[in-house]
C-alpha cells in the first residue's frame, strides 16, 4: 500500500508532470474567471491533447484545469458581482458587498486561502475514505436525495434579508423558472407554450449571469456613475488585507462549509453550485455572526469558497471509486479515463493504485499552484476594477453574451440571459432579494426529480419518505426551519404595539 503510494507520488512529482499541472491550473483560472468561458470548455479543449500523453500526465493536466476552473470563478464574483462559474454563486453574496466596501483585497485573499484549504480538505477525504464513502453514497436512494435537497431548499427563509415573504416569493419564482421545459421524469412538456426552444428549459449560466451581471449593468446605468464605488475600491484595497484574526475566527466556518461541500460532492448529480450554496447556508446557520451573512463579511466568502473547492475531492469519490460522473466536468474526466483505456470503478484502486495516488499527488500540486498563481496575480485583479466602469462593463457584457451562446450554441440562451437580466433588475428594484431565487432555481429540479423518482419506487406511497430514517430526519428538520421563522415573524407582527 505505502510503496504504491510512493511510486504514484514520485511519478506525479516528475518535472514534466508538475509543469503540466501548473499549465492546467493557469488555464483553468482563465477559463473560470473570464465570464463566458467555463471550466468544461477548458477541459474539452485539452482533452485531445491528453490522448497523446501517458495517462497520469493527461489526467493531471485535466485535474489542474478542474481546480483552476472552480477557483477562478471567485475573481469576477468578488470584483464584478458576476458568477464566473455557477460554482462561485454564493461567493457573490458577501464578496461583492465586501468589494464595494473597499475590502476587495481582503475578500480575494480570504477566498483564495479558503479555496486552497478547501481543495486540500476534499483531497484528504478522497485519499483516505474514497472506497468507504462510495459505499455510503450507494445507500442514498431518491428518498434521501429528496429529503436532503428539500432541507437545503427550506433554508430559503434564512437568505431573506428584510421581508420574509418577499424572500419566499423570490425562491418560488426561481423554482418556477427551473420548471420550464421537459418534466424530469417522463419528459412531459411544461410551461413551454409549444416552443421547441423552451423544451430544454433554461440553462444555469444564462440564469445566474442574467440575474446578477446584466441586472447590475441595468442598475448601474439607471443609477448614475458607479464610479464613486469603484474609485473607493481602487484606493483602499491596498490597505485592507487579511488579518490573522480573520483566519483564526473562521476555522469553524471553514470546517462546516468544507464538510458540507465534500459531502455534496460525493453524492453524484448534485453539483458544485449546490455545494457552494449549501456550504454557505450551513455556515450561516451554525455561526454566531449568521445574521451578518450577506452584508459583506469574510465568513461568507470563506464558507462559499471552501465548500465549492472541497466539492472537487468529493466529486472524485464516485468518479474514481464507482465510475460515476457527478456533473459535466466529471464526465469529461471520465471520458479521459476511458480514452486511456482505464475504467474507473471498483477495480481502479487495486489495478491502478499507482495512477490513483499519482492523481492525488497532482491534485495537491494543483492546489498549491492555484494558490500561488492567485496570490501572484492579485495586484492585477485589483487593477482591473480601476478600469473605468463605462469601458469595463460593456466588455464584460459581450463576454457574457459569448458565454451564454457558447454553452449550447443557441441564440436562445442569449435571449434568456437578457430576459433574466430584466427579471433580476425588477426583483432588486422592488426590494426582492436575489439569493433565494438562485437557491430555488438550483435546488428545485433536484427536489422534484427525486420526488417523482422516489414515488415510482414506492408506487405513489408518500409515507416511505417519513419511515426511512435519513429522509424522515431531514424532512422533520425542514419543517422546523420553515415554520420557525414564520412563527416568529407572525409573533412580531401580532405582538401588541408598546404604548408611548
Amino acid at each position: 500500500m505505502f510503496d504504491v503510494f510512493l511510486q504514484g507520488a514520485s511519478a506525479a512529482l516528475d518535472i514534466y508532470c508538475i509543469l503540466l499541472v501548473f499549465g492546467g491550473v493557469a488555464l483553468g483560472i482563465v477559463f473560470g474567471s473570464v465570464p463566458g468561458l467555463t471550466a468544461s470548455m477548458g477541459l474539452i479543449l485539452c482533452l485531445p491533447l491528453t490522448f497523446t500523453m501517458p495517462p497520469l500526465h493527461g489526467l493531471s493536466l485535466l485535474c489542474g484545469l478542474f481546480i483552476g476552473g472552480i477557483s477562478g470563478g471567485l475573481i469576477p464574483a468578488i470584483l464584478m458581482n458576476l458568477p464566473g462559474t455557477p460554482g462561485s454563486v454564493a461567493t457573490l453574496f458577501d464578496g461583492y458587498p465586501m468589494a464595494v466596501k473597499g475590502e476587495a483585497k481582503k475578500a480575494l485573499s480570504a477566498a483564495v486561502l479558503a479555496s486552497f484549504c478547501g481543495t486540500l480538505f476534499g483531497i484528504v477525504v478522497l485519499a483516505i475514505f474514497a472506497p468507504m464513502l462510495a459505499r455510503f453514497a450507494l445507500k442514498f436512494t431518491p428518498f434521501e436525495y429528496f429529503a436532503v435537497s428539500f432541507f437545503a431548499l427550506s433554508l430559503i427563509a434564512s437568505l431573506s434579508a428584510g421581508s420574509m415573504i418577499k424572500g419566499f416569493i423570490s425562491g418560488v419564482i426561481g423554482i418556477a423558472i427551473a420548471m420550464v421545459g421537459m418534466s424530469p421524469v417522463g419528459g412531459i412538456e411544461r410551461l413551454t407554450g409549444g416552443h421547441t426552444d423552451l423544451q430544454a428549459g433554461f440553462a444555469m449560466v444564462p440564469f445566474l449571469v442574467g440575474l446578477f451581471a446584466i441586472s447590475e449593468l441595468l442598475h448601474d446605468s439607471g443609477n448614475g456613475p458607479a464610479k464613486a464605488t469603484m474609485r473607493k475600491l481602487g484606493e483602499t484595497t491596498r490597505e485592507v488585507g487579511l488579518k490573522i484574526a480573520d483566519v483564526v475566527g473562521n476555522i469553524r466556518t471553514f470546517l462546516v462549509a468544507a464538510t458540507v461541500g465534500t459531502g455534496i460532492g460525493i453524492l453524484p448529480g448534485i453539483g458544485v453550485s449546490t455545494a457552494s450554496l449549501t456550504g454557505y447556508l450551513a455556515a450561516k446557520k451554525t455561526s454566531r455572526r449568521g445574521n451578518k451573512y450577506g452584508t459583506g463579511i469574510v465568513d461568507g466568502v470563506v464558507a462559499s469558497e471552501s465548500a465549492n473547492n472541497a466539492c472537487i475531492g468529493g466529486a472524485l469519490v464516485p468518479l474514481l471509486a464507482l465510475g460515476i460522473p457527478g456533473d459535466t466536468v466529471a464526465s469529461i474526466l471520465l471520458g479521459a479515463f476511458i480514452m486511456n483505456n482505464i475504467q474507473p470503478g471498483p477495480l481502479l484502486f487495486l489495478t491502478q493504485g499507482e495512477l490513483v495516488y499519482g492523481i492525488f499527488t497532482s491534485l495537491v500540486v494543483a492546489s498549491i499552484a492555484m494558490a500561488a498563481f492567485m496570490f501572484l496575480m492579485m495586484p492585477v485583479f485589483v487593477r482591473i476594477v480601476r478600469t473605468p466602469k463605462n469601458v469595463l462593463m460593456p466588455l464584460v457584457v459581450v463576454m457574457c453574451l459569448v458565454g451564454a451562446f457558447g454553452l449550447n450554441n443557441r441564440a436562445f440562451d442569449v435571449w434568456s440571459m437578457v430576459m433574466f437580466g430584466g427579471l433580476g433588475f425588477a426583483l432588486r428594484t422592488f426590494g426582492f432579494p436575489l439569493q433565494p431565487a438562485v437557491l430555488g432555481f438550483i435546488l428545485g429540479p433536484i427536489v422534484e426529480t427525486n420526488f417523482y423518482r422516489a414515488l415510482t419506487a414506492s408506487k405513489g406511497d408518500l409515507t416511505e419518505f417519513l419511515t426511512r430514517p435519513i429522509s424522515g430526519l431531514f424532512l422533520l428538520l425542514s419543517l422546523v426551519f420553515i415554520a420557525l421563522p414564520l412563527i416568529s415573524a407572525l409573533y412580531t407582527r401580532l405582538r401588541p404595539v408598546p404604548q408611548g
Partner: protein
C-alpha cells in the same frame, strides 16, 4: 483579464478583421470552410466522445476542419430541430443515434429523421445486458421471469422513463408475459448506483459501462436482449435462448444534413463515409470507446431506423404524447 493591454491587442488584431470577411463558398469547392457537427448531448458523455472521434476522422477524410458543437437538451430534440431548420449548405451536420425515435414518439419533434438528408450510419452500440447485484438471488432472466410470475409487480426494474430502456422494459414484459415494477432511476450513472445499492433488482445497461463491475464480481449479467451473444461475454445467454421471445435493436449512430442538401455536397460526404468505413485509424480510435465501426448506406440506415421505430411504436402507449 488583460484589459489594460487593449491597445496593444488592438494594434495586432485590426488587420485580422480582413480574415473574417473571407470569400463566399461555392458549392463545387465544398468543403471550403469549417463544418459544424452538432452533437445533441453534453460534453463528456458516450455520444459526445464518439462524436468527437468521428469528427476528427471525418476531418482527415475531407481535408477541412470539422467542429463538434454540443447542443444538449430535451433528449436530443433541440439539436435535431436546429439542424432540421438550418441552411442545407453542408456546413451544418447532425451526429445522432436511435434516440431520435423517442423524440418522434413523444412528439418532441414533429418531423421524421427521414425528413433530414440522412448520409448513413457510422457506428452501432455494442449492445446492452441486463444485470443484477451479485448478492441477488437471480442467476439468469428465467429466475427474474419466475419471480415476477410468482408475485406480479414486485420485481424492480430500474429504467429511465421515456427513453429506450422504457421501451425495452415494456417489450420484455410483453414477451415474457410478466408484470414488473418499473422504477425511474435516471441515466447510466444512477443505474449503476441503484443496482449496487440494491434499490432495484434488475436494470438494462451498456456492456462497457459495467464491465469492471462484472470483472470485480459486484454485478452479475442475467442476459442480453441482442440477437447474439457478445464476444467478450460468451456465457451471457440471449433472451431468445432463455425462452423470452424478443430481440431488441441496438443503438445506431448516424449522421445527416438538413433537408434538401445539394447533391454534390451529399456525394462528397457519402464518399468520405465510404472511405472511413474501411479505415484502420478509425477502427483504432473507435476501440478506445469500445465501439465498432458500422457503416450502412443512407437507405439502409433509414430502413434500420424505420424498423426500430416500428418496434418502439408497439409500446408507444408508455409514452404520453405531448399533443
Amino acid at each position: 483579464m488583460k484589459f489594460r493591454h487593449l491597445k496593444t491587442i488592438a494594434a495586432a488584431a485590426v488587420p485580422a478583421l480582413g480574415l473574417l470577411a473571407g470569400g463566399a463558398a461555392m458549392a463545387q469547392d465544398y468543403p471550403s470552410k469549417p463544418i459544424q457537427m452538432v452533437i445533441p448531448y453534453n460534453p463528456g458523455g458516450d455520444t459526445d466522445l464518439l462524436g468527437r472521434i468521428f469528427a476528427s476522422q471525418l476531418e482527415a477524410a475531407l481535408g477541412e476542419t470539422v467542429v463538434p458543437v454540443n447542443m444538449a437538451g430535451a433528449s436530443g430534440s433541440i439539436a435535431t430541430t436546429h439542424v432540421y431548420q438550418a441552411a442545407p449548405d453542408g456546413y451544418t451536420m447532425l451526429f445522432h443515434h436511435s434516440g431520435v425515435l423517442g423524440s418522434m414518439l413523444t412528439g418532441a419533434i414533429d418531423f421524421s429523421f427521414d425528413d433530414l438528408t440522412v448520409l448513413g450510419s457510422v457506428g452501432l452500440s455494442e449492445g446492452s445486458i441486463w444485470v443484477t447485484a451479485s448478492s441477488s438471488p437471480y442467476e439468469d432472466m428465467q429466475d427474474v421471469v419466475e419471480a415476477a410470475k410468482a408475485s406480479p409487480g414486485t420485481v424492480k426494474n430500474g429504467i429511465n422513463f421515456g427513453s429506450q430502456t422504457h421501451v425495452h422494459a415494456a417489450a420484455f414484459e410483453k414477451a415474457a408475459g410478466v408484470e414488473m415494477h418499473n422504477i425511474d432511476v435516471g441515466g447510466i450513472g444512477e443505474k449503476i448506483v441503484s443496482i449496487l445499492g440494491q434499490h432495484v433488482d434488475v436494470s438494462e445497461v451498456q456492456v462497457g459501462a459495467v464491465q469492471s463491475y462484472l470483472d470485480s464480481g459486484d454485478m452479475r449479467a442475467l442476459g442480453t436482449p441482442a440477437a447474439k451473444r457478445f464476444d467478450g461475454l460468451p456465457d451471457v445467454a440471449t433472451f431468445a435462448e432463455q425462452g423470452i421471445d424478443v430481440e431488441m435493436p441496438d443503438r445506431l449512430f448516424w449522421v445527416a444534413l438538413p433537408p434538401g442538401a445539394p447533391d454534390d455536397v451529399v456525394e462528397t460526404l457519402k464518399g468520405a463515409l465510404a472511405e472511413l468505413a474501411g479505415s484502420e485509424a478509425l477502427k483504432t480510435e473507435y476501440a478506445k470507446v469500445k465501439m465498432t465501426p458500422y457503416f450502412l448506406s443512407a437507405e439502409e440506415t433509414v430502413d434500420y431506423l424505420n424498423n426500430e421505430y416500428e418496434f418502439n411504436a408497439q409500446y408507444k402507449d408508455i409514452f404520453l404524447s405531448n399533443n
